[in-house]
């Protein structure tokens, strides 16, 4: 084991270095003495013998160094030396170190945090083996009949029979699963709560290759009898949260929507189904749809009711294209039978039959919660990428400046015989030390940012899926980039400096006359690009800030202060419309009687929750264009909702004409409705709509009775503050034949929040099995709908300010350097009677020019780039002049501040000192 002995020898010499050096001296002294003795023996005089011996020795120091170099730990020793030296120099120039490390930390930290979040949302794989084999089925095109879609305009929803036929006939899949996310009421343990459930096909778990943590998972036998597969599988997180991992839950009944289901198993830890972001609480067989997601008009076997998203696992080796080609002939007959059922004809028939069956990659699952989050995230990623570029440019500028400032030092060291390679190594060590410190600080910052952002995001919207997991790929990327910057811009000046003509360096740097081969142009380019990038970021941040302000001050047409809201879904528990109506009337009376309630009302769809009902309403006297087929967005298209008495006074929506609904508008009373101004203008332009009629449905196709218009109300927003005012028609909830969900609104005298508990217990008393959902103030509800806008604004403003700070630091650095180099010239000017104001102008002018060039480039880039964010803006165009003027003003202020300090310093140059400096 020769190498072990060698290693051991090295270690020994490393630790016994001092003693070894001592011993080497002894050894050489012995040799010298022997030589002297020999010389004496040869008859030399003592003095002569000594000198002769010394001569044969040459340079003893050199000899010792040569010998020591063989000791094998030189590399380590020199590195330690370099590190120690680097640490010392960095400590001496603390200003540079702090700025450089901070710059790096901000760049690395911000990027790692944002990219980690983004990757989680957009790029995580489903928790299944071989996720790349998973595909999502889509069939874009016209949807006749009933479609219950979540994304993709309903193209991903299929009827249950269609799904079953595809599963039986397609040969390209090793499994084809159906999975629909729904909300259910779960009761038991004395309380009732809403829970998220996935209605899944029997082969769901097999196709995704999921193992149970407890009991068993579903098989095809759990998809056998509509309404009869009364079993449920719990998700691991629900089992932990709700049942404390108690295994005795197995085979126990769990009452879901009033139906007792037997818990047969728990899915493995970490399995969250096919949608990233929101883990379901339970899995229920798809055959229980009628009980779990009641829809009185459709049955499970209805081929015209599309509601089930379908995903498949391709057999190994089958490509997307081949699978698609093999599926189309299977899908075509299904479309034909649908079209016959729907009684389609003519163009409708042709268009429906041309619906393709497409496959999309399903490795990331169904991005339902992510819709709407993708664009803000991409914008944020671009912004944070720009910040990293700015940080790198800043660091580059700092390093170049430092390299230049050290030319003289390097020159001196070269003159004293330092080896060039060793010097470069030393400078490199210094750069790496800075990069490492920046990296470590960056990781810490990334952690902090992640936690802060994750904590700031409300759950339930597209970005609420985030966890504070740091993505190390991104971290390494950011560190790698800054390392490259550090090495490139740290080494380049070092290489140049070490190649210097020594004499001229020592001479030139001594006098403050410009040296040939200065790095100043490079630094100016870096500054200009920093300013330009900052301008782009500031423009983006400005537009987003204006957007948020516009949203917060948008005229909603609704008075949201002092209003509490909550919703219930009695239909999920099997309540019939008549029972729900009775419940609504009772709850309304009891809530109105609570102390502190000014007024209250009900609607079926909740406001500011993106819950839209749209239909055609044909006004009295409407004459359609010949051959006109009603389309969405048509001139008879309107949003609608069923509401209770006092709705408009509770919501603060002004009554323009006519009356509100009252208790006398009962189920069997004449059909009535109230319309908003927009609808009144569109459908009854020039006429007084009160007393006129409007019919639910499209013209001649309608089988409904006409409704009398009894009121006109002011326009108000529905989905969120961003939405446009739509034509809106209100009907009394008492006349809703399918009354199922209810949203309550309670306007209070004072702060509404303390009323929440009273409301909860009131509903509990009326129906102990009815969970109260989304109990919050309307202000909170609206704010919730703006959380993405707020996040984008806060982050983009922070990033832009960060960029401005970095640019200011860079500008300051360059000008301070220019002033220091031109101190002599400035001194002469002052000595010759130059005005201090002129000097000030000189320096400010330099900084000003860089800023103007940078800002001009940046504004042009921003004008082009901001077109991409147009859809994220509200109430402000992508070329908003005010924002761009603001950007220019802010840049002017920042650069002014950054230039002012060096400029002041320039005016204070003492001519005597400056001239004597040589």
């Amino acid at each position: 084991m020769l190498w072990i002995r060698r290693f051991w020898l090295r270690i020994q010499t490393l630790f016994r270095r001092h003693r070894s050096t001592q011993r080497l001296n002894d050894e050489l002294q012995f040799h010298l003495d022997q030589q002297i003795a020999e010389n004496l023996a040869a008859g030399m005089r003592p003095e002569e013998a000594r000198h002769a011996a010394m001569r044969t020795f040459g340079n003893p120091t050199y000899l010792k160094e040569e010998t020591r170099d063989t000791w094998g730990c030189v590399w380590l020793e020199q590195t330690t030396q370099d590190l120690r030296y680097a640490a010392r120099t960095l400590r001496k120039s603390a200003g540079f170190t702090v700025v450089a490390v901070t710059t790096l930390a901000l760049g690395i930290g911000a990027n790692s945090a944002i990219f980690s979040l983004t990757n989680q949302i957009l790029l995580s794989d489903l928790p299944a083996p071989h996720p790349e084999q998973l595909v999502i089925l889509r069939s874009p095109g016209p949807n006749h009949g009933h479609t219950w879609g979540d994304i993709d305009q309903g193209a991903q929803s299929f009827s249950y029979p269609t799904y079953r036929d595809l599963r039986e006939r397609a040969t390209v899949f090793s499994g084809l699963l159906g999975c629909r996310r729904i909300t259910v009421n779960v009761s038991g343990h004395g309380e009732t709560q809403a829970a998220h459930a996935d209605l899944v096909s029997g082969n769901f778990f097999q196709t995704l290759e999921v193992q149970p943590a407890l009991g068993r998972l579903f098989t095809s036998s759990d998809e056998s009898a509509p309404g009869g597969n009364t079993v449920a599988v719990l998700s691991y997180s629900y089992w932990s949260r709700q049942f404390g991992n108690d295994p005795s839950i197995l085979d126990e009944p769990l009452t879901v929507n009033g139906v007792p289901l037997t818990v047969v198993g728990v899915a493995r830890k970490g399995f969250f189904g096919v949608q990233i972001g929101l883990t379901p609480d339970l899995f229920i067989p798809v055959t229980m749809k009628a009980q779990m997601a009641p829809n009185p008009n459709q049955t499970l076997e209805d081929r015209t009711d599309r509601w089930l998203p379908v995903m498949g696992r391709l057999k190994a080796g089958i490509t997307l294209a081949r699978a698609q080609a093999e599926l189309q002939p299977i899908y075509q007959p299904l479309l034909e039978s649908d079209a016959k059922l729907l009684k389609l004809s003519g163009d409708d028939w042709k268009r429906y039959l041309s619906k393709p069956l497409l496959l999309a990659g399903g490795a990331h699952g169904r991005l339902v919660l992510q819709q709407g989050a993708e664009e803000p995230l991409l914008v944020l990623m671009s912004m944070v990428g720009l910040v990293l570029l700015i940080a790198c440019a800043n660091l580059a500028g700092l390093l170049v400046a430092r390299g230049e400032a050290r030319q003289r030092e390097i020159g001196v060291r070269l003159a004293m015989g330092a080896k060039r390679a060793r010097l470069i190594r030393q400078l490199l060590t210094e750069s790496l030390l800075v990069a490492t410190a920046g990296g470590v600080a960056g990781i810490a910052l990334a952690w902090w940012c992640l936690n802060a952002i994750a904590a700031a995001i409300p759950q339930g919207n597209g970005m609420g899926v985030l966890a504070n997991i740091l993505d190390f790929r991104v971290l390494w990327f950011a560190i790698g980039l800054t390392l490259a910057t550090t090495i490139l811009f740290g080494l380049a000046p070092a290489m140049r400096a070490t190649r210097l003509d020594l004499q001229s360096t020592l001479k030139d740097q001594g006098s403050n006359v410009s040296v040939g081969g200065s790095n100043l142009p490079l630094r100016k380019v870096l500054i200009v690009s920093q300013v330009a990038l900052t301008a782009v970021l500031l423009a983006g941040a400005g537009l987003f800030a204006r957007t948020l302000m516009n949203l917060e001050h948008a005229n909603l047409g609704v008075n949201i202060s002092h209003v509490l809201q909550f919703s219930v879904a009695p239909d999920l528990n099997g309540s019939t419309p008549a029972q729900t109506l009775a419940f609504a009337d009772r709850a309304r009376n009891e809530i109105a009687a609570l102390p502190g309630v000014r007024s209250m009302s009900i609607s079926t769809a909740p406001i500011f929750a993106n819950d839209d009902y749209v239909s055609n309403f044909t006004p009295e006297g409407y004459v359609p264009q010949p051959g006109h087929v009603p389309q969405p967005g048509d001139d008879t298209d309107a949003m609608y909702d069923y509401i209770g008495p006092n709705y408009f006074s509770t919501m603060g929506i002004p009554l323009i004409a006519g009356r509100e609904f009252s208790d006398s508008d009962a189920a069997e009373s004449p059909q009535v409705c109230i319309i908003n101004e927009k609808l009144a203008q569109r459908s009854f332009a020039g006429r007084n709509p009160i007393g006129l009629h409007i019919t639910h449905g499209a013209g001649t196709l309608s089988r409904d009775l006409p409704m009398e218009i009894v009121g006109v109300v002011g326009d108000s927003k529905w989905d969120d503050a961003r939405s446009d005012i739509a034509p809106f028609l209100y009907m009394p909830y008492s006349q809703d034949k399918n009354l199922g969900h209810l949203a309550f609104y309670i306007r209070t005298e004072r702060d509404p929040s303390p009323m929440a508990a009273a409301l909860r217990s009131l509903v509990q008393r009326l129906d102990p099995n009815l969970p109260v959902n989304n109990l919050r103030t309307l202000t909170e509800q609206l704010s919730h709908s703006m959380s993405n806008d707020r996040l984008v604004t806060v982050l983009s403003v922070s990033l832009a300010l960060l960029a401005a700070l970095l640019a200011a630091l860079g500008l300051y650095g360059v000008l301070a350097y220019v002033v220091a180099r031109r101190a002599r010239e400035i001194g002469i000017r002052i000595a010759l009677g130059g005005e201090r104001a002129d000097i000030l102008r000189l320096v400010l002018g330099q900084g000003g020019r860089l800023t103007v060039v940078g800002a001009a480039i940046g504004i042009v880039v921003a004008l082009v780039a901001m077109r991409w964010v147009g859809s994220l803006l509200y109430g402000v165009t992508a070329h908003d002049p005010l924002t761009f003027v603001g950007v220019v003003v802010l840049l002017a202020l920042v650069s002014g501040a950054a230039c002012y300090i060096p400029a002041r310093r320039a005016t204070r140059v003492d001519p005597l000192v400056a001239l004597r400096y040589e």
Partner: protein, 109 residues
């Protein structure tokens, strides 16, 4: 007279190993021995000798021990290790081959 600088790279190692193959010696004695045996042709300078000795020691081909000389002074005595012996054989064989080859070239003209 050949200066040690002119020695073929690695030859000094061979000379040292060979010199130590009989008995342990200190640096001075090694230099003297090489000088003597070579008939005063090869003079090993300290500047080459000691770095070489320390390098060989690091390679564990020779080991060192401080011992008293006959004059009663402490000196560092180097001796061959087993690995050094093997290395000597290898290098000696190499050398024979090389010098024979050079001889062939030089004398066949």
């Amino acid at each position: 007279m050949a200066k040690p600088n002119d020695l073929v790279q690695g030859t000094l190692d061979l000379l040292i190993l060979k010199t130590l193959s009989l008995e342990a010696k200190h640096g001075w004695a090694i230099a003297k021995r090489i000088q003597q045996i070579s008939g005063e042709v090869l003079q090993v300078q300290q500047g080459s000798l000691y770095p070489a000795l320390h390098r060989l020691e690091q390679k564990a081909w020779i080991k060192a021990k401080w011992k008293e000389t006959e004059t009663g002074r402490e000196a560092k005595f180097y001796s061959l290790t087993a690995a050094g012996g093997a290395q000597l054989e290898k290098e000696a064989a190499n050398w024979s081959r090389l010098s024979a080859a050079i001889n062939l070239v030089v004398e066949t003209t």
